[in-house]
């Protein structure tokens, strides 16, 4: 049940957000009573030690994981209230995800991988193909439309993944260590590409990363520590 919220410029908001895991009877607070807002078009870098909760936070935003308490607002939508099915639709249409290990579908060609989230909406053929082709040209793979992922380099695969994240024109892009699996030079290229395309399209970008390079490009930098987001 989406509930109206006053400030239209705010794209993502956490209200008293908490998430904990119980392991061996002990409670681990990964996210602890978080209250943060992000504006439309902001580029946010999340840094923190391994195990600090970066992935957990991104998963909460995409509805892959569920909070234990508190609220997550995506634009005017309160995620807490949504069913599994509705969360899936949010992921499909309003969130774009870029993974560390690219996660392309091996049985689909490059252009089909990009079209897939659009086709899941039931829109078919020309329309999704045309948009996918446009996006692939944008990320520099206009000549590899019909290749399969296994013949692409890591950098090329990540370009495809970026195009896939953008296909349904989402409000927000989530990237979990998108360069973590690439060599230094390629990492830089990909990083620049992500920043370029998200700024161009005025998307909010939340990127978990170890790379200090990002800090120079980001609008905001947060460090996760003990379940809190500490602004840099």
């Amino acid at each position: 049940m989406p509930i109206e919220h006053s400030d239209n410029n705010i794209n993502l908001r956490f209200v008293n957000l908490s998430k904990f895991y119980t392991e061996a009877g002990r409670e681990i607070k990964v996210i602890d009573n978080l209250n943060v807002e992000f504006n439309q078009g902001e580029v946010v870098a999340l840094i923190g030690k391994s195990g600090s909760g970066k992935t957990t936070l991104l998963n909460l935003i995409s509805g892959i994981d569920h909070p234990d308490s508190g609220e997550i607002w995506l634009g005017n939508t309160l995620l807490n209230d949504l069913s599994e099915e509705e969360l899936t639709l949010i992921r499909r249409n309003r969130v774009g995800i870029v993974f560390q290990f690219f996660n392309l579908i091996p049985t689909l060609s490059v252009i089909e991988n990009v079209s897939l989230p659009r086709e899941l909406n039931g829109s078919q053929g020309i329309n999704s193909r045309a948009s996918a082709e446009e996006l692939l040209t944008r990320v520099g793979l206009g000549d590899r439309l019909n290749s399969y992922p296994d013949v692409l380099s890591g950098g090329e695969q990540q370009r495809v993944a970026i195009a896939r994240a953008l296909i349904n024109d989402p409000d927000i892009i989530l990237a979990d260590e998108p360069t973590g699996n690439l060599d230094e030079d390629t990492a830089k290229e990909i990083l620049e590409l992500i920043l370029e395309v998200t700024r161009e399209a005025e998307k909010t970008l939340i990127m978990a990363t170890h790379s200090n390079e990002v800090i120079n490009y980001a609008d905001k930098v947060y460090t996760i520590h003990n379940g809190n987001l500490i602004p840099e």
Partner: protein, 854 residues
């Protein structure tokens, strides 16, 4: 394997107890199938051969008449003049007990004192009887001992009277003792036996002064034995022969051989499908612990150690599964024995399997098959697992890529193997083993062809489905992508379904052939026959019954049949059937004949005969004039000219058809086995049956049936014969289903991450399930499609090669669309049903867990 690794194994098994149990169940199933069929086979053939051995376990030779009984003077001469020791006379045949619902039992008359020498003291049922009972049996006429199974099942006590009938003869005997068969090895098949003194048996069987057989113990190796044997051979008149027991057993056993073969083939097929099953389950359990294996290898466990660990585990589980399987198989065997016995009774002999035998070999076979199959099935997954490096624990792409590259090679090998199978079939031989071998080569070759055919078919589907949308296009590609799993699932389903299909076609063709043969062969309106205990019985009716039948109102003409089992040195066991004109040539379908009907019959009156197709096949008699057959008759050896070969599906042993007049002139036998009655008015058949029942009520053991009635019961018998086959067919389907289930579960486990990605980028659970449903449907469809040509090919081999070689019968190949719809249906239902559970599980999985990057 070292201790810590053993710990890892045990820890894993403990944590995944359910899967380990499933694995054990899979092996159990396969082994149980093998063991139970083996038990059924052995029990039947063992009982069969023991019942031929009668009581004397130690006898080494039998003296037999060429076709029937011989003079008892031969016995007296051997014993008194030639001084042969260790010799016992026997008169035997099957009789009916009228006051026990015409129950068929084996009547055995012997000279008990003479026979005693043959008994091992521990094994004999006789020493448990008192001396007075034995002397009473010999001195008091019409007394008998019965086997304990008759006593128990019919509630017979000592002192009761049994009304025995044999053809037209009847005799009341008093039961004076029960054979005590406890713990005796041979007693296991002594069921259904009635033991009398020789003269009582001779009287009832109408064989006064005659013997059926003489049992002897002769050691051919010794000089004395050799001399005795020679003197017996010199003395025996023509038509009476002495034969080694093992040789005789061999020829008698050949009758049930085709039946055993039927079962053996099915059990081997079950093993084939069972190995698929075990392979799938073992690989499933390996996949489940990819991460453990990955970790082990990253901390320095060598490939060899991992390989050994998995093999050792497979061995352990194989042993447990096989042991349980053997036990399960013994229980399953018990019920199959019942079915088999019934079929054999219908087909060949009265056989009572009172107890069933579980030989050490059967157990060894089951254990070995289970353990070896498990180890064999574990080799590939174990190898696969030992290759897993930490980096690609989650990716099977290395192996999958290797598999995809190999499918062409598999295809080529498959074609070569199939070609070999074809060559084996067309070899000019009658060997059944070779024809079975070719079935296996073809099945194996076809399994190797499955991956490439799957790829081609799925590409086609992908093309056909592409207009519908990306998701429908993805499914066939996913099937190709996971070939190493899907192809195994498709292959196991294809093999199982093609076996089911081919057996359906064979039984269907068999049935339709028999039905049309019955229509043409049964020309008379009413049939009268004695309650025949079995086809080997020589019981008959006295000829005066012909007049009694003719005098009944409504009867037009009467035809007669005399059927005797003939055992000739050249042609083995066959039926000699003497018929009158009406039943001779009319309506018969001929493979070949020399003359038209009238001339044929004229010729048969003189010196020619007809033979059945199976007789010709077995004795390599080619169609065409000029073949002559020599038979021992009561008038000496006579030569008969073969003037026709006709189709006959009644007696597996083959039939030699002779005119009644010729038969009666050459053999001293006036008995009749059955009569065909032609009514004077066709719409009065049932009424005439009633009239005949009244006028023949003096005969206690006649069956009077209308044409329709007889046909129905013949078809019922036919259907019963194939009950076992149908039951095993279902078992094979179950094994195939479990096999597909486990390979789909393995596949789904491997693809968890892929599913996580779908869910993360916005595929709903129902979209995911739909996609899987489509994939599983395609797997089923592919199996169904592949099983059609394979099933047809197998059915052709079954009908034109295996069946011909074991029965000597040509069947009309007949197929019904129903079989193919059934095959497709079973394939689809099995694969979709097998996919339901994994699809249900995957929908419930946490997306975060699925995509967690390790």
């Amino acid at each position: 394997m070292n201790y810590p690794l053993l710990h890892v194994s045990i820890g894993f098994i403990k944590r995944h107890l359910l899967q380990s149990i499933l694995l054990v169940i899979g092996i159990t199933f396969g082994v149980a199938l093998i063991v139970s069929v083996d038990i059924a086979n052995q029990s039947a053939s063992r009982s069969f051969s023991i019942s031929k051995e009668i009581l004397s376990t130690k006898s080494t030779h039998h003296i037999l008449g060429a076709y029937s009984d011989f003079d008892e003077e031969i016995y007296n001469h051997l014993k008194l003049e030639l001084g042969i020791e260790n010799i016992a006379p026997i008169v035997e045949d099957y009789v009916n007990i009228s006051n026990l619902n015409d129950r068929a039992v084996r009547l055995l008359g012997t000279d008990l004192f003479a026979d005693l020498i043959f008994y091992d003291t521990q094994n004999s049922p006789l020493p448990n009887l008192s001396q007075s009972t034995l002397s009473e049996l010999i001195t008091k006429p019409s007394t008998a001992l019965i086997s304990s199974d008759i006593a128990q099942s019919a509630g017979i006590k000592i002192g009761d009277v049994l009304n025995l009938s044999y053809g037209s003869e009847t005799l009341d005997v008093e039961v004076i003792g029960v054979l005590d068969e406890q713990d005796s090895e041979l007693s296991k098949s002594l069921g259904g036996l009635l033991l009398t003194d020789i003269s009582t048996a001779q009287e009832l069987l109408g064989k006064v002064g005659l013997l059926s057989q003489i049992d002897l113990v002769i050691d051919e190796e010794t000089a004395d034995g050799g001399r005795a044997l020679q003197s017996i051979k010199n003395y025996l008149p023509s038509g009476v022969e002495i034969k080694r027991k093992d040789v005789l057993l061999g020829s008698a056993k050949s009758l049930t051989r085709s039946f055993e073969l039927n079962l053996t083939a099915l059990s081997l097929l079950a093993l084939f499908v069972g190995v698929f099953l075990i392979y799938n389950i073992v690989s499933f359990s390996v996949i489940q612990r990819r991460s453990i294996i990955g970790t082990l290898s990253s901390i320095g466990t060598t490939h060899r150690q991992i390989f050994k660990m998995i093999m050792a585990e497979a061995l352990g589980i194989g042993i447990i599964g096989s042991i349980i399987g053997v036990v399960g198989g013994i229980f399953l065997g018990r019920s199959i024995v019942g079915l088999v016995t019934r079929s054999i009774n219908d087909l060949y002999y009265t056989l009572t399997v009172t107890n069933f035998t579980v030989s050490p070999e059967t157990i060894a076979k089951g254990l070995l098959a289970g353990i070896l199959a498990t180890l064999f099935a574990a080799v590939v997954p174990a190898f696969e697992a030992s290759r897993l490096r930490p980096i690609n624990i989650l990716r099977r792409s290395t192996f999958e890529g290797f598999f995809l590259k190999s499918i062409r090679l598999f295809g080529v090998i498959g074609i070569i193997v199939i070609a070999l199978g074809y060559i084996v079939i067309i070899l000019p031989t009658k060997s059944l083993i070779l024809s079975l071998l070719s079935v296996f080569l073809i099945l194996f070759g076809a399994s190797l062809l499955v991956p490439i055919c799957t790829t081609l078919l799925m590409s086609l589907f992908s093309f056909l489905l592409s207009p519908i949308g990306l998701i429908s296009r993805m499914s066939p590609r996913n099937v190709i992508r996971s070939s190493s799993r899907t192809a195994v699932a498709i292959a196991s389903l294809t093999v199982a379904i093609s076996v089911i299909l081919s057996v359906s076609i064979m039984i269907g063709s068999f049935r339709s052939t028999v039905v049309s043969w019955l229509d043409s062969a049964l020309t008379a309106d009413v049939f009268i026959s004695i309650v025949a205990p079995n086809i080997s019985s020589q019981a008959g009716l006295n000829p005066q019954i012909i007049d009694e039948v003719l005098n009944t109102s409504g009867v037009g003409r009467v035809a007669t049949v005399r059927r005797v089992l003939y055992n000739s040195p050249e042609y083995g066991l066959f039926n000699l059937v003497a018929v009158t004109e009406d039943l001779a040539t009319e309506n018969r379908e001929f493979v070949w004949r020399e003359l038209d009907n009238d001339q044929l019959w004229n010729q048969m009156q003189k010196n020619s005969i007809l033979i059945s197709e199976s007789f010709a096949y077995r004795n390599n008699i080619e169609p065409g004039a000029g073949t002559a057959i020599e038979l021992q008759t009561d008038e000496g050896i006579k030569e008969f000219e073969v003037t026709g070969i006709y189709y006959d599906y009644g007696a597996q042993s083959g039939v030699l058809l002779i005119s009644d007049d010729l038969y009666r002139s050459l053999w001293q036998d006036d008995k009749i086995t059955s009569l065909g009655v032609y009514v004077s008015q066709i719409n009065n058949v049932e009424k005439t049956v009633g009239e005949l029942r009244t006028s023949l009520s003096g005969y206690s053991n006649l069956v009077i049936r209308s044409n329709n009635n007889l046909k129905e019961s013949a078809i019922k018998t036919f259907d019963r014969t194939f009950t076992v086959t149908s039951a095993l067919r279902i078992l094979i389907a179950i094994v195939a289903f479990i096999s597909v289930l486990s390979s789909l579960m393995a596949l789904q486990l491997e693809r968890e991450r892929e599913f996580g990605v779908y869910r993360a980028i916005g595929m709903t659970i129902s979209q995911l399930r739909k996609m899987l449903f489509l994939e599983n449907g395609l797997i089923g469809l592919a199996s169904g499609i592949f099983s059609i040509p394979l099933g047809l090919a197998l059915s052709l081999i079954l009908i034109y090669v295996i069946n011909l070689r074991s029965f000597g019968w040509t069947l009309n190949f007949s197929i019904e669309p129903r079989y193919f719809i059934e095959a497709l249906g079973i394939a689809l239902v099995a694969s979709i049903a097998a996919g339901l559970y994994p699809a249900y599980l995957i929908g419930k999985e946490d997306v975060g867990k699925l995509i967690r990057e390790e």
